[in-house]
Amino acid sequence: MLVLCAVASTAYAEEADWRTSWDGTLYGYANSMVVRDDSVLNPYNQIARLPQRSDVAEIRMNLKAESETVRVTARGIGSTREMRNAFGQRSHTEGYLSLWQVRVRAAEGWNVAAGRDVLNWGAGQFRSPSSPFYFDNGRTDPMRELVGMDVAKVSWTPDMRSSATLVRVVRSGYGAAQPDAWRDSWLAKFDTRGEEIAWGMVAAKAPHLGAFYGAHGQYTMSDELMLYGEFGSSVLPVVLGSPEDAAQPYQIQSPSPRGNATLAGSSYTFESGQSLMLEYLHDGHGYTKAQEVAYFERATTQFGLPLGLMPRLLGRDYFHAVWQANMMSETGYWRLMYTRNLTDSGSEFAAYGETTLHPRLSIYALAVLPQGGARQEAGALFTRSFTLGLKSSI
């Protein structure tokens, strides 16, 4: 960090041409969730105490200052949240930097940076198997942005086609679960891009965890059609094993056995700019059908543990489809999503829509409709959720 500051100071002394910019967005949104009373994992919402109604006011600010060799960026978020359920009301206010970075061009093709960085990549929509930190890809809480990891990194970009990066992860960023599995870890990444193919490989190593290996790639077959895939091989800090015999107790495994996750997808873009994406995900860390059945069966007598150590995905095989509007449209955007857990046959529909009321004001809504019972992943906790919000540029 001291070296970065020294280099930045020298660069600042030599550079007089700084450009600064800022922008921000105010969000106000309300969510209503119908929590499942007959939930096996969270009966009468007594364990998780999920908010059945929440109101959020949030501001997200972007700041940038850059010269020819130095760039400083920051994204700050401040929010206040009122949450209500059958057990009462509570509020929570927070302010944090979801991203920040000081980047210095140290030499031709070399950059050094420090800050909070979302190290996420790959074309996968449903999940990001090739990222060691963001497998979830923000799906669990789509209204909330991903928070970066606190890192120092060196990047080598010899030409337009390839780059290599070495990252020292100091810790997971704001709000990370403790203990922090990624504190004091290393990550190396290599990316290359050809005329129609782009791919990358990544390896990451945390002090007390087996190495993570990942890869991602995409192939642009034509203007309309792109094929893509992601792969990740990982050892998780802790998993809740579920023997197929429900009479056997859960098994807490720390660390987990190594498991692989693979995602294969295709994206077709219509002449109108609308696109259709179809994805298949296999997650080796998930349960088989028998294991998932036993998981729910065991949960009827062991409260807390199955929810607290719930796997990142309960099943092993998923189908995910997205149909969305032209992302370049200025007047609005919509997105329809369908996910099917092929292991337990539960599914989920989700729809997002946004329209511009005024150049600086948009209204948006998100509806999530699980299709599954209390012993299927999709319907395990709630039966429907609806969010309505306004956002205004400042």
Partner: protein, 252 residues
């Protein structure tokens, strides 16, 4: 005998004149590829890097779209366009490296691959806002010359060399005097006219000690419906752009 010698001398002189005239005509005939390459410079091609700001205003019938302002950095087959206005899209970026394209926005979980079919705005495609490299992307055939607004022009028929080219076919009118493209017709592979464009060169850039006229305005009209996009190019700078500017992992 003298008459025969005289006739031979005259014939040789006529043959020499003919050979000279033909070779002169061949030397004067312009090379289509050279014309294209020279005209590319006036639209950002063949330079070590170009940075420019573009204002776009699109119209579809009676409806005027919201104006856009974007900052573009381009070199060779790579470009990155960052939206400055409208303010609700500020910070959105589109990165193109060869045939690969991605979009990022503040708050997105990761860069999203997009298709060239998701056009920038109205009639403009990503290829229209980036540096032009027709000489590298198209095979050129030189046709007759025509006048466009009293400006004699070479008429070039361009065919895409590879899938990376934005359009399958282009008919391109290049001013004979100024060697800049002033009119274009864009066709699909089946020969269907898709849109037309007119170009103006009110800017000037300095490169290699020369002052080069540079594009200041591009008007693109749809061939089938009453829709057009006007692009105003301003704040043009020729500068080397680091490869890291086009690295997805460093776009934060």
């Amino acid at each position: 005998m003298l008459w025969v010698m005289f006739k031979e001398r005259v014939m040789r002189a006529i043959a020499s004149l003919l050979i000279f005239a033909v070779s002169g005509a061949v030397m004067a005939a312009p090379d289509a590829h050279s014309i294209l390459k020279d005209s590319d410079q006036a639209r950002g091609g063949g330079l070590p890097g170009i940075v420019w700001e573009i204002k776009l205003q699109s119209r579809d019938g009676e409806r005027n779209d919201e104006p856009q302002r974007i900052l573009v950095k381009a070199v060779d087959d790579s470009s990155i366009a960052e939206t400055q206005e409208p303010v609700r899209f500020k910070g959105s970026k589109i990165l193109q490296v060869e045939r690969n394209m991605w979009m990022t926005r503040p708050g997105l979980s990761k860069p999203i691959p997009i298709s060239p079919r998701q056009r920038m705005s109205g009639q403009a495609s990503n290829g229209d806002i980036a540096a032009t490299n027709y000489a590298g992307d198209y095979d050129a055939q030189l046709g007759a010359t025509e006048n466009v607004d009293s400006d004699p022009c070479y008429v070039l028929d361009l065919s895409a060399k590879h899938k990376r080219a934005t359009y399958d076919k282009i008919r391109y009118w290049v001013s004979v005097k100024r060697v800049v493209g002033i009119k274009a017709e864009f066709y699909s592979v089946s020969g269907k006219l898709l849109k037309t464009a007119r170009f103006e060169y009110g800017n000037t850039i300095e490169h290699d000690g020369k002052h080069i006229p540079f594009i200041s305005r591009m008007i693109i009209r749809d061939a089938l419906i009453d829709a057009e996009t006007v692009m105003e190019f301003g704040t043009v700078k020729v500068k080397k752009i680091a490869a890291s500017e086009f690295d997805l992992g460093q776009m934060q």
